[in-house]
């Protein structure tokens, strides 16, 4: 009991402390220039980084000149220790060459350590920012400047194949969490000075680097400006993933449909850039955004361009058919079974009534029950450790399904329907479209359960009206389908041969198309 009270008290104290820290910061933010004395700078930084055990401050001699001192500040671990020792400490402590004696201290440091002009600061806030980004900063006694030594080796994982976008043919590298690596991966694909990379800082607390990248010769200026403006208008505390950005810049934030495309693969990102789209790379996230997005993009896989066009076209057709099946199959079945039995072939009726003879639930609730069970299993499967995955899927899919049929909770046709629905969903390459499909499927299911095919038709009308009415950065979402365009549709519903694609050029070369004046003002 007493422990508990102590805990409460201590937590209250901690709260007080944090308030103090905030107060300190407020007071000290008024001072911005760097002091001449190392000691003052040291105190300032120390107060700034209070309660940060990983801050390292080392006082080192300045090329052994007259006992002059320097202060090296860095955050431990953000840059490799060996690099700091080799390139900074050992050089600073080494004897100085006589030839260089004519130079002043600033030049000496600049030339000896090879520091860029842009990395010399007179502002202490900027120096602190540099420390935070992981580079050591050197303060010299009697000099009102600080020097950032760029040794940043960001920690990150290796480049490997993203598990969400698996291809059988084609490049296998994927983006990592490091911004620089990701930019390099794109630069490697497009060796062109027109490939622009513009940097923004988003997030008041996290100060995350966000880079937009586009091909200035292809991308539409209006869309580029629109993206920039939306990025600048973002008022957010923290950015930990690209989704934080996506939800802010999306045209219809409340829509269930994804209006910004995402990918984890540099080859796809490069293709999007070449098509005239704008890529948004967020530091710390392997998921890269691309805008404007079209609905058909979510049904395309990078693989479509790495296999022959005939096979790719077949794959695309299968995906379109699967999309329709996975959305409407359960609702069509329900509509037929509960309202329009005359549309079922007689021999099928025979097997359906035999299967459903002992099922206590009405067909609609039976299918809602089964589909919900499936969604639960899917969600559980994602969280499950990989080693369990297979066992659970066998138990969940086979044993549960079979037992449910034998126990008479569901009929066999329903199991077939749900299995087909589930399998066809996996043909859709994009993860983003997965949950919108579930929403629509249940919406249709309820409509057809209450109103039959009439309801289903109304539902399809509603959804297609919605899809047709939304735009992503000024481009109609259903573009090559709804404002129908055969020449641009060559790369959407089918995949025309490469030589033909080259001629018509990829989709978003819409410069003189209908984009002009149609960009919606960002609502936020």
């Amino acid at each position: 009991m007493s422990n508990f009270i102590k805990k409460i008290i201590s937590s209250v104290n901690r709260n007080n402390n944090s308030e103090n820290i905030n107060n300190n910061q407020c007071q000290k933010k008024k001072r911005t220039s760097i002091s001449k004395s190392i000691e003052e700078n040291r105190q300032y930084i120390e107060s700034y980084f209070s309660y940060c055990f990983d801050l390292v401050m080392r006082e080192i001699s300045f090329f052994n000149i007259n006992g002059k001192k320097t202060l090296v500040v860095y955050l431990e671990g953000l840059s490799e220790k060996k690099l700091i020792e080799d390139f900074l400490i050992s050089k600073l402590t080494s004897e100085i060459n006589v030839n260089n004696m004519s130079l002043n201290e600033e030049e000496l440091l600049k030339y000896r350590l090879g520091i860029k002009d842009t990395e010399i600061y007179e502002d202490i806030e900027k120096s602190i920012e540099a420390i935070l980004s992981g580079n050591p900063v050197v303060f010299v006694n009697d000099l009102e400047k600080s020097f950032e030594i760029n040794l940043n080796t960001s920690l990150g994982r290796q480049i490997d194949e993203p598990s969400t976008e698996v291809v059988t043919r084609g490049p296998r590298e994927g983006f990592t969490e490091s911004l620089i690596t990701n930019i390099n991966l794109i630069r490697k694909k497009i060796k062109n000075s027109n490939l622009k990379m513009e940097k923004f800082k988003v997030g008041k607390e996290t100060n995350t680097n966000v880079v937009i990248s586009y091909l200035s010769s292809v991308a539409d200026k209006k869309i580029v400006n629109e993206v920039k403006e939306r990025l600048k208008n973002i008022d957010i505390e923290s950015v930990l993933d690209s989704n934080y950005i996506e939800e802010y810049i999306s045209d219809a934030p409340l829509s269930i449909f994804p209006l910004v495309f995402r990918t984890e693969k540099p080859d796809i990102a490069a293709a999007k850039i070449l098509e005239g789209r704008i890529i948004i790379i967020v530091d710390g996230s392997p998921v890269v955004l691309s805008a404007p997005a079209l609905f058909v993009e979510f049904l395309q896989s990078g693989e479509d361009y790495y296999i022959r066009f005939s096979s790719a076209t077949l794959n695309r057709c299968i995906r379109f058919i699967s999309l329709i099946i996975t959305i409407t199959l359960p609702s069509i079945y329900i509509a037929l079974v509960t309202f329009h039995q005359e549309l079922i072939p007689t021999k099928l009726i025979l097997s359906v009534i035999s299967a459903r003879a002992n099922v206590p639930l009405p067909a609609m609730w039976e299918s809602i029950f089964m589909l919900t069970a499936f969604e639960i299993m899917r969600e559980a499967g994602i969280r499950m450790p990989k080693s369990f995955g297979q066992a659970i899927s066998i138990v969940g899919g086979l044993v549960l399904g079979d037992a449910a049929v034998k126990a008479g909770i569901v009929g066999t046709p329903m199991v077939v329907i749900v299995a087909l629905t589930a399998i066809t969903k996996f043909t859709i390459p994009s993860v983003e479209l997965e949950l919108p499909i579930v929403y629509i499927r249940f919406f249709f299911l309820l409509l057809s359960g209450f109103l039959g095919l009439t309801g289903l038709t109304c539902g399809i009308l509603l959804v297609s009206m919605r899809l047709v009415s939304i735009r992503s950065f000024g481009v109609p979402y259903m573009f090559p389908i709804c404002p129908f365009s055969i020449s641009l549709g060559e790369d959407e519903i089918i995949r025309a041969p490469m030589w033909k694609l080259n001629k018509t050029q990829r989709l978003l070369k819409l410069k003189n198309n209908f984009i002009s004046n149609r960009i919606h003002k960002h609502s936020r």
Partner: protein, 402 residues
């Protein structure tokens, strides 16, 4: 102002959602909702008349097979026949609901079978009943049986216990073979109102003659002839095909012809059509029928003395097709004899043809058509050809024998 507009927009959406939800739950949207297993699907409807002029309706209804049975039975499917009586068809069905717990649905009906007695009394009630509401399809075939329709429904063929399915397959086949007429309920209604008002329909019977066959089976062969809605007579299978030759409906079938030396050759009909040319001169009706047919040689049986090498002697084909002409002519003549002499009924629907081709003259003879028809001069011309002789160019016997 703009804000007010937005406000109304939001209000509208809320209103829409409320309307959709309340209407989907409260309004009549679900009134015809019915779980599939709680419906009785009628696959065959039989109509008979008992001695007291009451209508006996028999229904073959699909049944879910019991789980306890072995899997083989589950696959075959089951049906049950319900019998009910009443003053009208609907009255009988209404009486049935006293004992049948589920509503019945006619949408998947395969055939309507009419007993002889009912057919003689007039089939108007069943045609009316089947077309009045959309529950029953207008494409349901109507068949007549010599006995009682109940027996047909209750018969279980060994390969398929549901007789409606057997009948359905038989009808499908006869659409091309033309040994029995296939007439739907809508056709009946049209024929009743047409100029000649004669309709024919297939006859279904239980095969009793074939005693070697232990299992009962159904036979669909021949036609029943109706004037208006009353049964007036029958035609056998050959006469029926003769009728279909004239109508140009024969699409498949076999034809046996004889060569000069009385040997038989089977031909497989692959195509036929007909053209009719009517003329009315001074109340004298003259109809020219031109039948065109194509066939393949399917079988040459027995010893053939004359040389049947088609490659060396193309005249043989011409000679055979002349024989074929004769055979078709004979069949057509059978039908004409039956129609004019025995039934004196215009089964070929010439009345309609005359009405279309020479409407003015038709109006003058329309009233006496039934009397006039037996004396109509029908001229038949057949031009047929034999397309293929198969991959055997010479008869096998010739080579082995010599």
């Amino acid at each position: 102002m703009n804000r007010l507009k937005n406000h109304f927009k939001r209000f509208n959406i809320i209103l829409l959602v409320i309307t959709i939800f309340t209407s989907s739950f409260c309004l009549t949207g679900c009134f015809d909702k019915n779980e599939i297993e709680k419906l009785g699907f009628v696959v065959a409807l039989g109509i008979d008349l008992d001695n007291h002029n009451k209508i006996i309706v028999s229904l073959q209804i699909l049944e879910s097979s019991d789980k306890s049975q072995t899997e083989k039975d589950t696959k075959a499917g089951k049906s049950k026949v319900y019998i009910c009586t009443g003053n009208t068809i609907y009255d009988a069905l209404y009486n049935l609901s006293k004992g049948l717990s589920i509503p019945i649905k006619f949408s998947n009906e395969k055939c309507i079978i009419i007993g002889k007695k009912f057919a003689e009394a007039g089939i108007k009630p069943i045609i009316d009943f089947s077309l009045r509401f959309n529950d029953m399809r207008p494409t349901t075939p109507v068949l007549v049986t010599n006995g009682d329709a109940v027996d047909i429904l209750q018969m279980q063929a060994p390969e398929n216990p549901i007789s409606a399915f057997v009948i359905h397959d038989l009808i499908k086949r006869q659409k091309y073979l033309c040994l029995a007429s296939t007439t739907t309920n809508l056709d009946f209604a049209n024929n009743m109102k047409s100029e000649s008002s004669i309709s024919t329909c297939g006859i279904i019977n239980i095969d009793k003659e074939n005693k070697k066959n232990l299992n009962n089976s159904l036979i669909l062969s021949g036609s029943a002839v109706f004037r208006k809605d009353k049964l007036i007579g029958y035609m056998n299978a050959e006469e029926t095909r003769g009728m279909q030759w004239i109508k140009g409906k024969v699409k498949l079938g076999s034809l046996v012809i004889k060569t000069r030396d009385e040997n038989k050759i089977s031909l497989h009909i692959i195509k036929s059509n007909s053209s009719l040319k009517p003329s009315i001169i001074d109340k004298k009706v003259d109809i020219r029928v031109n039948i065109k047919a194509q066939s393949n040689i399917q079988e040459i049986s027995e010893h053939i003395s004359e040389d049947m090498n088609f490659n060396t002697n193309p005249d043989i084909i011409d000679r055979l097709s002349k024989e074929q002409d004769k055979a078709i002519y004979n069949e057509a003549n059978l039908a004409i004899n039956a129609a004019q002499d025995r039934l004196s009924a215009d089964i070929f629907d010439f009345g309609n043809l005359l009405y279309r081709e020479c409407p003015h003259e038709w109006n003058s003879i329309k009233g006496d058509w039934n009397k006039l028809f037996p004396y109509v001069n029908i001229e038949i011309g057949v031009s047929s050809e034999i397309k293929q002789t198969g991959i055997l160019s010479k008869p096998i016997t010739n080579e082995e024998g010599n």
